[in-house]
Symmetry: D2
Subunit: 410 residues, 4 copies
């Protein structure tokens, strides 16, 4: 396929990590569209220096006022991670959606910058086989229906790493030493998780090599003694660790430290991508794994059964929407409205035990507890519950089954 005949574009906002791929994209966009490219680099707590991105952008001629490096960490945790965690969503039963939940925020900020600068296009470095292109672009289109979207990986002819490197060399784009050869796998990182996939991970029968992990110690190397922590919740969100109040991002970072130390949150998964194929990934979600269980723990005590079971029924769909990139969709917002409605009294303290790769809730308490020792006790309950009520309860629950049994079984 030839390079596309470019529509006339005036200004493009590029999601720019500063790595080799997005550097090549930056240059390619400038050349192909002969227009200004604005770079946007989001600090989502991925744990990398971001200033080098600025230097690279400058080097490639991006105007100073067109280089955006924004610290979105608090917004990320407060407005994306926490709302998602309120749902207890797990994609395909296991995955905490660490990459999926970051994309809409990046897209939103890109669109804000595009609006601010009057840019008519946005671009990203996601490939044509993955979910991220979908998540970015559904975000763009949902927020700015008439924006022009440029996805170089689907458009250019740099279809092999060799060609990419040639292009970089030809245009004096600095190539990190370790990118000359083939990287043994590909990663994405933010404060919630690091994901790795590709190459050495492609055979789902092979165990993930130890060098792939970057956010957690090997459980075998974790401390030999368990550690206990508490997490406090208010209105469904974490607010303190060990009694110390902290902001959303600080709280997640703190849990990440605990998780890293105890080897918590590793997941080896074969998952179904929205684009229709199965892929194998390795995820590390240290703090998120602790947080997810802690949230379930406080809900156990404070959430009514009707609310809890409805949430459990809605969670797979909610997870799928986020995974597929439909954060900015009416149906995700509707589910969020339902979920958030349930969280007002989800408050109290959860106590957790961390030990060599596992995390367990070992205690929970709340001023809003719905647990009643008086009702549940094996001891005399002083009339709090009349056991004879159970007879009628069972009889009427059984009635339809008895009528059915009389028809079918006798």
């Amino acid at each position: 396929m030839p390079a596309p005949t470019p529509d006339k574009i005036n200004r493009i906002v590029l999601a720019f990590s500063g790595g080799l791929d997005t550097s090549v994209i930056l240059k390619w966009l400038q050349q192909t569209y002969q227009c200004e490219v604005v770079t946007f680099t989001a600090d989502l707590g991925q744990g990398e220096e971001l200033e080098p991105a600025r230097a690279k952008a400058r080097l490639m001629g991006v105007k100073e006022e067109h280089i955006f490096i924004d610290d979105l960490r608090e917004e990320f945790v407060k407005d994306y991670v926490f709302p998602m965690m309120r749902s207890n969503a797990l994609y395909e039963g296991l995955y905490l959606l660490g990459t999926s939940i970051a994309r809409p925020l990046i897209a939103k900020r890109q669109i804000e910058i595009a609006r601010m600068l009057g840019a008519d296009a946005v671009s990203h470095g996601a490939t044509g086989k993955g979910n991220d292109q979908v998540r970015f672009e559904l975000g763009y289109y949902g927020l700015a229906p008439d924006i022009k979207v440029i996805a170089p990986w689907r458009e250019w002819d740099l279809t092999s790493r060799t060609k990419l490197i040639e292009f970089a060399e030809k245009h004096q784009i600095p190539i990190p030493r370790d990118k000359r050869g083939e990287s043994p796998f590909s990663t994405d990182a933010n404060m919630l998780h690091t994901s790795s996939e590709g190459k050495v991970l492609e055979d789902p029968w092979d165990e993930t090599p130890d060098y792939v992990y970057s956010r957690t110690v090997n459980p075998e190397d974790a401390p030999d003694a368990p550690e206990y922590i508490t997490v406090d919740f208010e209105r469904g969100d974490g607010v303190a660790i060990n009694g110390v109040g902290m902001s959303p991002a600080t709280l997640l970072e703190t849990l990440n430290e605990y998780g890293r130390k105890h080897g918590i949150g590793r997941l080896d998964l074969v998952e179904n991508r929205f684009v229709g194929m199965k892929s194998r990934g390795m995820y590390e979600t240290p703090g998120g794994t602790i947080y997810h269980l802690a949230h379930r723990g406080i809900e156990q005590l404070t959430l009514d059964r009707g609310a809890a079971h409805l949430k459990d029924e809605l969670a797979p769909k909610y997870a799928e929407l986020i995974y597929n990139g439909f954060w900015f969709s009416p149906e995700r917002e509707m589910l969020q409205a339902a979920i958030d409605h349930s969280q007002e009294k989800v408050a109290g303290t959860v106590r957790l035990k961390l030990y060599k790769g596992s995390v367990s809730v070992v205690g929970r308490k709340s001023p809003y507890s719905l647990y009643s020792e008086k009702v549940v006790t094996f001891e005399d309950d002083a009339g709090a519950y009349d056991q004879r009520d159970a007879a009628g309860f069972i009889k009427l629950n059984a009635l339809r089954l008895r009528l059915l049994g009389r028809r079918d079984r006798e």
Copy 2:
């Protein structure tokens, strides 16, 4: 409440563990209803000697031919545990339903015995506050709509342990030494799990004391080296461990041994009972926890996304039905039909790592794998997937969001 004016009953089949409570019930039924009581003791792999139950029944005058001690272990795993596991059901996101899944089988066998002997009533030892009374009785009524059900705990006036012990002493019922005083908690066990609740567990803030656990070593005492095993599946069910074929019950027992050794499957839970209250329980499901994850592992590779996501959406309802006692209901059977339809090609081998309380899938392979390295690869895929298709895919998925955005956001 006075003892009920008994309807005229001819013969009662009692679910009889041989413990103090069901021994008192046996005597109380004989006295109250002045009729023959048949005892039925199920071997579900609870790990207790069952012959003492025979001796006790004899001692209380039950006829030899009216004492039933049946080994139901294979039926339990094959026809109840495995079908349930095919669904990946977790009650309230975490609980593997170990007690719930045993009750329908006990009820079914009781009804079979009742039919065989012309008994007109059945009885059980579950209390009036719990779920088990519901599960037993929905089973009874579903299978034998006109059976008379006697639930002594809801009917008699032995409302305290002191009165129970007095009744036992008065009727020469042997009282195990440790039952004289209050037991510090109450348990239920079968091959899938042991549950504990009550008394020392009643404050959900207090950590479960170590002496409550009986099926698993403390993870801190588990081996310092991880152990790897494989589980083979055919048509959605486990058939071999480490390549050695075995029957369902043997397979689960074998996984229980691995789980016990590595401290796997402990769960401290506050859950919502069907009768409307919250309770706090401690569960040990060593083999079941491994099996559950292994089953997910093989499904990841062999189940289509549409099937997998539908299963995930149905699972909370399926779990609720089993928890609430609706095993013998049309809706559980309908869900089972859907689930079973998906399992034909769920076959292959899962490799798991067991280490100090945690279990992880580290590899999976299958002759029916839907995973295609050729399609997913980061390398050149030789045309297996056309990245440009993604553009149209995204465009049409975005269309409704763009139309919406034009209306609402611009």
Copy 3:
């Protein structure tokens, strides 16, 4: 069963229609509990004179300030009927929930009166076989967990109509002439619908006799010419008919008139009661039937597909919750939050054709329409939609099916 040994009750608020049954209940409560009874009669647009209820209450010694006759029509439609209609809920696919939706409001007002007067008990005239007892009492308990509930039909020994009439005669309770004999069926009415059941309706093979209908003309007797009307909506609720703005209750009344005239909204149904049995009822919901379709009509134009399909998936559960009496439950409120979130732009005008028992949407328009002639047109769309996008869309939707087909079909 003997009359229950009454707990000491000080004051009871009775849901009082003024009919024979609740008159007998009023007297029975006064006698049995030896306490003041407060009567509450709700005007829900049932189309009956309510002042006779006042006279009867006086006659039986209820204090003037303890006789409550409240016009709840606007509250009923605005806060109960309309929110429910936003969901498009149909119980068992067909029933518009006319009785179910009235009960929570009656219960709420009873509890308010009980609070205001310091009453410690509430009572109602629903029988022990129906759904209404459940709906009333779940309302009472949800709003006032420690209220005492008295359900005479489940407690007294007036178990036949003969005994009831004897009791009435003995206590000088006026007996309407037509109540001496057996009424041929039983009814409930409010502004949304009239339901009839029992006796002549008990055989589900027999066609409902014409004299059972009271709210609609027989379609055969309806006008021979169709009539067209428009309904305007704002934020999901009806606000005007034929361009004339009106209050919720007036709007529903107006639609009732149209429905009555054209014989719209009759339903003969065999339904499943929450208490476990099937019953056969006849419903007339003239205005509600028109409104339901009109609401669907305006949603077709203004609701995004994702929102619409999510609503359709949630509707059966929402309908079941209302039918079963769980209006005041967290899960109904959660669903309502999701539904209401979708309704902000559900606004515009629907045109309907009414003719001899049927109602059809024949046109709809809206300032918030998401329908785009430009996109959908068979004519040249000037680039609004690129047909080639569909190729990629289909290819990626098909990918998993192709991988599956390669495994299973070839």
Copy 4:
């Protein structure tokens, strides 16, 4: 876009109606791909002569043995319409899916012919904006993953009707007189329904003109007297009308006649297409509308509540799958397995009243009825139901709400 560089194709099976569009396609395929084209014309009861299609194919040089005209009417109703009807599926609450359900059968037969003849490609005449392209192609790919699919409307440059006619004239393709000008709307027909859309229907505010309807009389012109019919069901499927047994296709045809006569089954709908836009269509489903209600009627009597409510929850998803073209998908098959499991005893007779556009169930009876007059009666039920059971039933259903109320409301 230039005509695509054609892959080398040997033989193409075309879904061929014989109309102008597919005639042009036939010629275009022959020219563009320089290969044999096989025509397949399905008789799905669309009510058109099919022999002219044979003549046209001959005229354009299709070999005699490559012209397929297959009567699929019985297969269509038995294996597609009836299974779907078992689900009570309505897309977006109202649409009986008449077009959607025909596409998979056409696709299946095309693939069978392709296999038989060693053809390597299939083609259809659906446009790039509609759902049918998706339904055809998901069917093709699901059944034959490596088939080549040619969708001329998305590929060629005959982008206006003028160009199409020019092409036809140039190639001596006969042009029906009424196709010279613009047709005022577009239709699709099969035994289940006729759909019309486009042009005069494009403004959703305009009432559908009378000349658009072809399958039903205007209700105003229908007989002035209602007509009663009965439909008998076995295992969830219709088997007889008015006591006369008939095959599936004959039964549907017979109901179509009744529906036509009484003006039943017209639907004016704005719906959401899978490709992301809203469209406005007019549907006539005379027999299907009667059948749908009749099936609900017999289920009311014979289906357990648990089964019925589960079906109602699954139906929107099932409808969406069929609408979107996923008939040959694991998840549709899973849902079908669940639904079919429920239908074994769905048998008996439904009596319906047909009158001027409306159809009502007025009676139903069954040897498998679960309705029990003895239980439900207002009269003395001789102990079939103990009203006091309701007290316990309500108490335990209320327990969680009371605990919640104590926390939140008092």
